[in-house]
């Protein structure tokens, strides 16, 4: 029976499994299968999939892993995700991973690519640089060649060529995945009581470790179950959660925000699943279609340069408007350059449109939720007072 509860329990087990049993099981099911890990914020998973390999999203190790060796490599003023990721590596929890992509998100993750090269010389490690120039003939040409190099690297690792047909098939699956997730997000925006964010998070998060085919089925099942079972409507404030795109807060933080009287109606968790804003076309050159989608139809976040001064931060204002949110909660990992440097600009933009906001910091292993409960609760109350004078 695929009830909401059993589905969420399954996702929760996947979330807590720091040995990545589900991904290992996929790999062990057939000899010769390979796994390519990636970190936030975006990589074209379609290419990995089209090479017959499993893309595995690594978002740190959450709150339960004790970090010993990872800490040995990082100063106290660096965020936690590289430490716990390295701990996963050093303790053998990623010993089934043959490739690792480190996207261009910040200098810490960038340098982690070098650490991985030094520490795990047998792994195919690539720093995945993306263009900050969105002109077809400039950034587009560069990105095209970057994707070709990545494709060649993945082909070499997989021992087989990525044919246009295979890539189209993968794009089809990931288009579906993006549509299904967008559908759940839309359902939550419309009826947030029906889709608790702590559940939605786990269901989407399962896509980090499951093959996309399985994840698509899971998303469908959960959507059906979520619509099926009516949950009570509560009088909560609608907020957008911003800044959680890399190191993940503990699940208890999401729950604390919800319990404090907030409906999270949009967020920037796992942007990779919503990075491409439209279906990637299937006709023509699939690789070029991925390039075009990135250049012209991709999400905005701090790791991307905004060429137009007046559009800086507009994405958050749009998210607030689009989801009829009443406020924004900035939650950023401690020492997170992208989130913390971006925040003042976003705040300026929100202030100009009279959107209330609060902010705090967390680490993936933050142990105390009382301050979060208090702040989010006060914020939710103040929104209500403010909107019902």
């Amino acid at each position: 029976m695929n009830t909401r509860q059993t589905l969420v329990e399954r996702c929760s087990a996947l979330f807590e499994d720091l040995s990545f049993g589900a991904s290992r099981a996929w790999k062990d099911a057939q000899p010769g299968r390979k796994v390519v890990a990636y970190m936030p914020v975006y990589v074209p998973r379609e290419l990995i999939h089209a090479a017959g390999m499993l893309p595995l999203g690594i978002l740190g190790a959450g709150e339960s892993l004790e970090v010993i060796h990872g800490d040995a490599y990082y100063q106290s003023y660096i965020c936690r995700i590289p430490r716990s990721t390295l701990e996963l590596g050093i303790t053998g929890r990623l010993d089934f991973v043959e490739g690792f992509l480190f996207p261009s998100i910040c200098d810490v993750i960038r340098n982690l690519s070098g650490i991985w090269k030094l520490q795990f010389p047998d792994v195919y490690v690539r720093y995945f640089d993306v263009p900050q120039n969105y002109v077809d003939g400039i950034g587009g040409s560069y990105y095209r060649r970057e994707l070709e190099e990545l494709k060649e690297g993945l082909e070499h690792l997989a021992g087989r060529l990525i044919t246009p047909e295979a890539l189209r098939a993968s794009i089809t699956l990931y288009n579906e995945n993006r549509r299904l997730i967008a559908g759940l997000y839309a359902l939550r925006t419309e009826r947030p009581w029906q889709v608790p964010s702590s559940e939605l998070y786990l269901v989407v998060r399962a896509g980090m470790v499951l093959p996309v085919e399985d994840h698509n089925q899971l998303l469908k099942d959960y959507h059906a179950a979520a619509v099926e079972e009516e949950l009570p409507i509560r009088d909560k404030s609608r907020i957008v959660l911003s800044g959680v795109f890399c190191e993940q807060p503990p699940l208890s933080l999401i729950k604390a925000i919800e319990m404090a009287g907030c409906y999270i109606v949009d967020d920037d968790f796992m942007l990779i699943t919503r990075w491409l804003l439209q279906d990637v076309p299937l006709d023509g050159d699939p690789l070029q279609n991925l390039v075009d989608a990135f250049l012209h139809h991709s999400a905005e976040t701090s790791a991307k340069y905004q060429p137009e001064a007046k559009l800086k931060g507009q994405y958050l204002v749009d998210a607030v408007k689009g989801t009829k949110a009443e406020g924004v909660i900035f939650a950023a990992p401690s020492f997170c350059d992208p989130a913390l440097l971006e925040r003042p600009m976003l705040q300026t933009k929100l202030d100009a449109t009279l959107v209330p906001h609060i902010g705090f910091k967390y680490a993936e292993n933050s142990g105390q939720m009382q301050p979060v409960r208090e702040q989010a609760g006060t914020f939710a109350d103040s929104i209500k007072l403010w909107s019902n004078p």
Binding site: I68, D71, S76, S366, G367, M369
Partner: protein, 436 residues
């Protein structure tokens, strides 16, 4: 006799070790560091030299026929008697200092009352002194401030009521005086105090020192000049020592060598002190090959436990035993001293048991130490754990578990006198420098 002295000026305590020519430990002394490193160094050195006298006595007398049975207990009595003489001496100083303080103009109107009260308090303190130095007396500390302080306050409370003197005035006088007294090394010739102590215990029936031969040997041990050939300072306060630069060694070097001298097989040393945590790799001769200290963030040092004890309104020595009662693994994530307090309150508010939270906190600081060890190159056999936290059984339990999980079977050395590791290393450097 040629003596080589090492002094380790830590952030909370100052330790001294006296070595003889053959690098045998003659004596050890410890005192609280106070604000004045000069005095702390002088006091700890004096304590170590006093301790050295007992060692010399023991060397002179052990094996002598007729006193085998009684020697150890009599030596212990002698030490207690000596401590009592010393204590009374300092008490005189404290009283005189308090009385001097009472001469201040602002006490003019209550002068007589204050003097009478001081006389009474100190009379009672002296009366009690005998009980403080009986065998197996329970004392929280050997430092004069701790011995005299708590009793003074409690006696003054009663006396102030009886004599209708303002209690605050008495405690103020004490507070000012104790700082002066503890910043003054105990006065008076040490050998005279020894002789006075000897008389006391003989009067009480100690037999070991009666025969002329023994008496001669005792005299010899007490009068043998202890020549301070070379002194080396180390520790946090070493730059404040009135020593020339060549008499100063870093605590890393001293801890490495000290641990080697305590356990020759030592290859990795972990020291968790009040202010910092050090991981040191040494070679077969105790020479430092690599070291790492906690980074600028002092999270997970000994002070963290002190802070937690304060938060829970417990004594520092109480939290280890309480944590040992834990039955449940509870993860505390914050080694940030400031945040740990908040997390602790959060946990207790959620209904977690104190002992489980405490055990989690102990594990957290040991995890932090494990990272610093890993940064320095990991643990090699044998592994020696030193510093104040090495006395905490809950911390040691977590360390043993984590060492086994991460490095397998490793010999773990924890010396009950590990607090002297740095001073021992410094003294060894003094011996080498003098004989270079």
């Amino acid at each position: 006799m040629r003596c080589f002295i090492g002094i380790d000026l830590g952030s909370t305590t100052t330790k001294a070790v006296v070595l003889d020519e053959s690098c045998q430990t003659l004596g050890r002394g410890i005192t609280n560091s106070r604000s004045n490193y000069d005095t702390a160094a002088a006091v700890s050195k004096q304590e170590a030299l006093i301790n050295a006298r007992f060692t010399l006595l023991r060397r002179e007398l052990s094996g002598l026929p007729g006193i085998e049975e009684t020697l150890e207990s009599d030596l212990a009595s002698l030490e207690r008697a000596f401590r009592q003489v010393q204590f009374l001496d300092q008490l005189d100083d404290l009283e005189a200092t308090c009385r001097h303080g009472a001469t201040h103009a602002r006490f003019l109107t209550q002068k007589d009352g204050i003097e009478a009260a001081l006389s009474e308090v100190f009379r009672r303190l002296r009366d009690e002194a005998g009980r403080m130095f009986v065998p197996r007396a329970q004392k929280k500390s050997d430092f004069f401030r701790d011995l005299a302080g708590s009793r003074f306050i409690s006696l003054a409370e009663g006396v102030s009521k009886e004599l209708k003197v303002n209690f605050e005035v008495l405690t103020n006088l004490y507070d000012k005086a104790i700082i002066e007294v503890e910043n003054r090394p105990p006065s008076g010739a040490i050998d005279k105090k020894f002789l006075a102590a000897l008389e006391t215990i003989r009067a009480k029936g100690a037999k070991s020192f009666d025969s002329p031969e023994v008496a001669a040997r005792v005299r010899q041990a007490l009068s043998l000049p202890l020549e301070e050939v070379y002194v080396v300072g180390t520790g946090y306060g070493r730059v404040r020592l009135p020593f020339p630069k060549e008499h100063i060694r870093s605590e890393i070097l001293c801890h490495g060598l000290g641990a080697h001298l305590m356990y020759e097989g030592t290859r990795t040393v972990l020291d968790i002190g009040g202010q910092d945590t050090k991981a040191i790799q040494v070679d077969g001769d105790g020479i430092v090959e690599n070291f790492q200290m906690n980074d600028r963030c002092a999270a997970g040092c000994g002070r963290y436990l002190g802070y937690i004890a304060d938060e829970m309104q417990l004594g520092l020595h109480e939290i280890g035993p309480l944590a040992m009662k834990s039955t449940r693994n509870l993860r505390i994530n914050s080694t940030c001293t400031v945040f740990a307090g908040a997390e602790l309150r959060d946990r207790l508010a959620l209904g977690d048991k104190r002992e489980d939270v405490l055990a989690g906190l102990h594990r957290a600081i040991i995890l932090r130490a494990m990272s610093i060890i890993s940064r320095s190159g990991g643990i090699r056999d044998q592994f020696t754990f030193t510093g104040g936290v090495a006395k905490n059984e809950a911390a040691v339990r977590e360390l043993r578990k984590l060492v086994k999980e991460n490095y397998g079977e490793v010999t773990i050395n924890i010396n009950p006198d590990s607090i002297y590791t740095g001073a021992l290393g410094a003294a060894a450097f003094a011996q080498r420098a003098a004989n270079a």
